[in-house]
Symmetry: D2
Subunit: 338 residues, 4 copies
C-alpha cells in the first residue's frame, strides 16, 4: 500500500490556494467562454509574472496546450525539433501529429533532457529536401523531463540558430515554476525569443488547467475559434483560471515549487551521504533519479513509497507541493537500508 507517493507530481490534489480560489470564483453568474473577470485577472497575473505582454488562454491539459501551440508554429509538412525524451515525444500519444495534421517530431540527443547544441546545429544545417519534413519549430522544456534546469544562456544558445532560420520556438513549462525557483529568470522568456509558452498549473497545485501564453501576438488571430474547434474552451471558464489566480496572487505558485525543489534537494542529500544508490541526473528542480537495481526498487515500493522506473532505466522520485519532510526522511531511511 502506498503511504507516500513519489510517482509523479500529478497524484497530489489541489493546493489550498487553488481550491480557495475555486470556491471564491463560484459566486453568482459569470460570462461564459473566458469573458469573465476571474479569467481576465488571472491573465494579468501571468503577464506580470513573466514581465511581458502576451495573449493568455487557459486550457484543460498540457498535452492539448503543447500540441495546439506546435500546430501554430509548424506546418504539417514540417517537423518539430525536440529532445528525444521530451514529453511531446514520449508521453503525449502523438498529439502533435493529431492536432498538427501530421506534423513530425525530430528527437535530438543531449544529457538529462537538455538538447545538445551541436546536434541541434547539425540538424539545422541539413539541406531542405522535398521528401522529408524539414525543421519548422523548436520545442524546449524547462525544467526538463530529467529534472535538469536550463539557464537563460543555454536557452538563448539553442534559440539563436533556430531564429536565424526564421523558425519559431515553443517552451513546455509544465514544471516552469520549479525552473524559476532554481534560478531561471522568467522575465527573460519573452526576450530570448520564445513565441509560445505553456505555463504549468497542474503540477504545482492546480486541478486540471494549463495556460497558453502567446508572446507573438500575430499568432493570436482567431485564437478563440481555434481553441473552440480543438475542444479546449470551457463554458464555465472561471473554473480553469481561478486556480491560477489563487496560486499566483498568493505567491504559492512559486512557493509550492520552492518547497518541492527543497524536498528533492533534501532527498538527494540524504541519498548521497547515506545510501548506496547513485544519482543519475542533476537535481536542479523537484525530481531525483536514482540508479537502482530491481531489488532496491522493489524494497522501496514494498515499504510504501510509489516510484517508477523511467525510460533511461533509473528510478524516478518526484516531490510536489504536498510532499512532507517526514515523507522524505522516511524514504531516505529506507534507501539507506536497502
Amino acid at each position: 500500500m502506498t503511504r507516500y507517493d513519489f510517482g509523479s507530481d500529478n497524484t497530489a490534489g489541489m493546493a489550498p490556494e487553488a481550491l480557495d480560489a475555486l470556491i471564491a470564483a463560484n459566486t453568482g453568474y459569470a460570462r461564459a467562454y473566458g469573458a469573465d473577470e476571474t479569467t481576465a485577472r488571472a491573465a494579468d497575473q501571468i503577464r506580470q509574472l513573466l514581465d511581458a505582454d502576451a495573449d493568455v488562454r487557459f486550457v484543460f491539459s498540457g498535452t492539448a496546450a503543447n500540441a495546439i501551440a506546435l500546430s501554430m508554429l509548424a506546418q504539417p509538412y514540417e517537423a518539430v525539433l525536440a529532445h528525444q525524451a521530451a514529453h511531446i515525444c514520449t508521453d503525449e500519444t502523438g498529439a502533435p501529429g493529431f492536432f498538427g495534421h501530421g506534423v513530425g517530431l525530430i528527437g535530438l540527443p543531449g544529457f538529462s533532457g537538455k538538447i545538445d547544441e551541436m546536434a541541434l546545429k547539425a540538424c539545422l544545417a541539413e539541406p531542405v529536401v522535398g521528401h522529408r519534413q524539414p525543421p519548422g519549430a523548436l520545442s524546449l522544456t524547462n525544467a526538463t523531463e530529467y529534472g535538469a534546469v536550463y539557464s537563460v544562456d543555454e536557452v538563448r544558445r539553442l534559440i539563436e540558430p533556430v531564429k536565424a532560420q526564421g523558425l519559431k520556438v515553443h517552451l513546455d513549462g509544465a514544471r516552469l515554476a520549479n525552473a524559476a525557483v532554481a534560478g531561471f529568470d522568467l522575465s527573460e522568456i519573452a526576450r530570448v525569443g520564445v513565441d509560445i509558452l505553456v505555463l504549468g498549473g497542474a503540477k504545482v497545485g492546480a486541478p486540471a488547467t494549463e495556460a497558453l501564453v502567446l508572446f507573438d501576438k500575430s499568432l493570436s488571430r482567431r485564437l478563440d475559434n481555434r481553441l473552440k474547434q480543438a475542444g479546449q474552451v470551457a463554458s464555465k471558464a472561471r473554473f480553469l483560471s481561478a486556480p491560477f489566480l489563487g496560486l499566483l496572487e498568493s505567491g504559492a505558485w512559486l512557493g509550492h515549487a520552492a518547497h518541492a525543489n527543497n524536498m528533492a534537494a533534501r532527498l538527494a542529500e540524504a541519498v548521497t551521504t547515506r545510501s548506496r544508490f547513485a544519482i543519475a541526473h542533476p537535481v536542479d528542480a523537484n525530481i531525483v533519479f536514482l540508479h537502482m537495481d530491481e531489488a532496491g526498487h522493489a524494497a522501496v515500493q514494498a515499504a510504501g513509497f510509489a516510484c517508477y522506473r523511467f525510460d533511461d532505466g533509473s528510478v524516478r522520485f518526484v516531490c510536489s507541493w504536498s510532499t512532507t519532510e517526514e515523507a522524505v526522511d522516511e524514504l531516505a531511511e529506507v534507501l539507506a537500508k536497502v
Copy 2:
C-alpha cells in the same frame, strides 16, 4: 447591468453538490489519468442511472466529447446526419471536421430541433456516389437546442432506419437531465440503439466536465490512447469525475434539472397569461423562446435580464439550477409590462 442571467445555463456556477464532491475528492494522493477511485465510482453511478453496461470516460468539454464520439462513428469520407440547428452544426466551430479529419455534416430540418422523420428517410434513400460524403452516423440531441424533448418512441423511429443501414448513433445529452425530468426514460437509451452518449455535466451544475458513455464496447478499443492524443485526459482525473459523483449520488443531477424545468414552466405560464409575447417552441425542458420585437428585447435587457436573440429570430430564456422563483417572477413582471 445584469441582475438575473437567463442567457445560458452555463453562466451559473457549480452547484453545491458538485463543489462539495470536489472538496471531498481533494484528499491525499490519487492515481492519475483516471485510475482513481472517485472516477470509478462516478462511472458506476452513470451506469446505474442509465441502467446499462457501458464504458465511461470523463472529458473536459461537450464540444470535444461530441466531436470525438462522432469520429468514432463516422469516417472522414462520410457525413453525420444531424438537425440543422444542432449544437454540432452551429456552435462547435467545425470541431467534428477537425477531430474527424474532414467528416461532413448533413443538416436536416424539423420543428424545434427535432429531426423530421421523412427528411431523414429521404436522405437515407439517396444512392451512395463516390463524389459525395454519404451518411455515416446519426446524431440526436435531447433535449433539443430549442428546448423540445424527444419521446423514446420518436427517437426509436429515427434510429431504426439508420440502424437498418448499419450506421451508428450518437446522442448529445448536454441537457439530458432536463429531458429525463420531462419524461424521457434514460434506461431506454441503450435499448433503442444509441452507440455513444455524451452525458451533460456543466449545464446541470458541474464545473467543466462531460461524460462519454460507450454502450457499444467494441468502440472502446484503445480508448485511453485516443482520448490522450485528443488532449482530453486529465492527469488529476478525480477533479473531472468528482462533480458527477456528487451530483449523481445526491440525486441533484435530476433534482436541479427538475428545478430548472419548473422555472421554465413557471415563466412560460406567466408569459402566456400575462404578456403580449408568443411562445415560439414547446417548453418541454428548461428553455423558453419568445417571439419578441427589438423594443421588447431591449426593454427586458435594460431591466437587468440577460437573454439573447437566437438563430431562428426568437429570444431565448434559459433557466438553470440557480434560477430563483424570484428571478422568474420579476422577469414575468417585466414581460407583462413591456
Copy 3:
C-alpha cells in the same frame, strides 16, 4: 448504347496535342519529381498564358488541386466561401475538409453558379464569434458549374470586399479555357487579386493533370514538401507537365475550348429554334442545360446520347474538344422530335 457522350467533358480521351507531347517527352532520362525540362517549359507556357509571374506545379487531380489550394488559404477553424453549387461543395467528397483538417464550407446562393454579390457581402458583414467558423477565403469558379462565365468586372466586385478583410482568393479553373474563349481575360486573373488558380487540364484534353498556379509567392514556402506529403508529386513528373506543354504550345488549349464552346452554342441555337425544351442557364461556355421532363430525357438517352439530370433538376449536355458537329446535329434532331 452510347453513340455520343454529352455526359461530361471527362469521358473524352486525350487530345492529339496532349498525346503527342507525352510521346515526345518519353525520351531518355529526365530528373524526377519536377526538376525536368518538360516541366520547366510547361510552367513557362502557363506564366505566359496568364501574363503573370507565378509558381507553378502540376498535380494529379482537380479535387486535390482545389483542396490543397484551400488548405493554403484558410485555417481549419475558418470556412471557405463558395457558391453552394461549386464543385468543391458538391462533388469532391469533402476533400477541402480532409486536406484542410476540418476547414468549413459556406455555400452562397446566386444564379447559374455565380455568387450573389449581396449574399457575399452579408456573409462578410457578420461578426466573428468563437463558436463558428468565420470566412477565411473565397473560392470562385470560372466557367461555373452551370456553364456561365463571370466577367472580369464581376469577379473584381466579389474579390474586393473579401480582400478588404484581408482574406485570400482561390479560382477553380477546371473550365478556365472555356471562360477565356468566352471573353474572360486571363491576364486579369493575377491583377484582380486571385492568390491561387487551379488551371484545368483534363477537361480540355489532357489525361489526368491540373496545374496549381500561385501568384502570391509567399505561399510557396516549402511547397514541394507540402505536395509530396499530400501524395501529389509524380516521380516521373514530365508525364504530368507534357500534356500541358503540348496543349499550350500548339494553341490547342484555347482552340479545343473554342471548339467545345461553339458546339454548345450550336446545340443551344438548335434547341431554341427547333425543340420544345427551354434552356435553363446561360450558354456562355461548353455546357447546355435543358428543362426536360423524364420522358424527354429517357428518349434522348435511348437514342444513344449520354446526358445526366443535374442537381437543379435540369438535364446537362457537355461538349468537349472531341464533340463533333455531326453529333450535335443528330442530338438536335432527336431533341426536335421528342
Copy 4:
C-alpha cells in the same frame, strides 16, 4: 553531363508496352472515375498475377497509395511498425501522418532494410499504455530499400506475431516485380496474410500510377469515397490503368524487372571481380550499393554516371528496364579504374 542514369528507377521514361497501351486506350469515350473497361481489365490482370481475389484501384503515386493504405490499417492514436529505412519512414514527408491524421511510425532495425524478427517481437511485447501510440499495423517492403528480397518464409515469420495480436499488414511493393523475379512467390502474398498491397507501376515502366490491392475486402467499404476525398481518383481513369494493362498482358511487368535485376547482377559481378569497391548490401534485385570514398564517387559522376550517396553512407546504383548492357559495362570499366 549525365550519360547514363543509375540514380533511380524513376528517371527512365515509360516502357514501350505502357505507352502502347496508353495510346490504345485513347479511343472514343470511356466512363469516368474508374468505371471503364480498361480499368476492369487491368484489375483482372492483377488478380491473376497475384492468384487471389482482391479489390483493386489505381492511384497516382506510391506515397499516396502507402499512406492511404496505412490509414485503413492503423488509427491516429496507433503507430505503424516499419523498418527504419522504409520509404514511408524516410522519403514520404510524413504522408502517413497526414493521411492518417497523426498516425505514428515506429522504426525497427534490421540488415539491408529487412525488419529484424527479434526487434519486432520485442516491440510487440511491450505493454499498451495510454500515453504512447501502440503498434496498430505492420508495414513491409519487398524488395527493400536496400535491394534485398524477403523470402516468403521470412515474411511469414514477421506477419505471424503481428496477426496474433489482431493487427493488420501492409506491403509496399514499389519494386515487387524485382522481388518476384528474385523468387518471391506472388501468389503467397494473400495467403501469408497481407491485407493491403501497393503494387508498383512507375519503377517498372509505367508513367505515374500504382495499384492499391485490398485482399481484405471488408476494408473496401466506401473505398471510392475515401479515394475521391483523398484526391486520388482520376476522372480519365483509363490512363492510370492502361499502363498496367499493357505491362501485365504483355508479360513486360516481370520481363522488365528481370532485365533490371540482370543488369544489377552484371554490375555486381564486375564490381566484385574487377574494382576495389566492396558491395554493401545483397544484390537480390535491381540495386547495387557500393562502399565508396568521396573521390571514387566524384570520379564516377564525372564520367557521366548519375548515382547518389544513400542514407547508410554507401553509393547506390539502380538499374531499370531501360538500363543497357553497354551502360553497365561502361560503368564497370570506370569503377575498375578509379
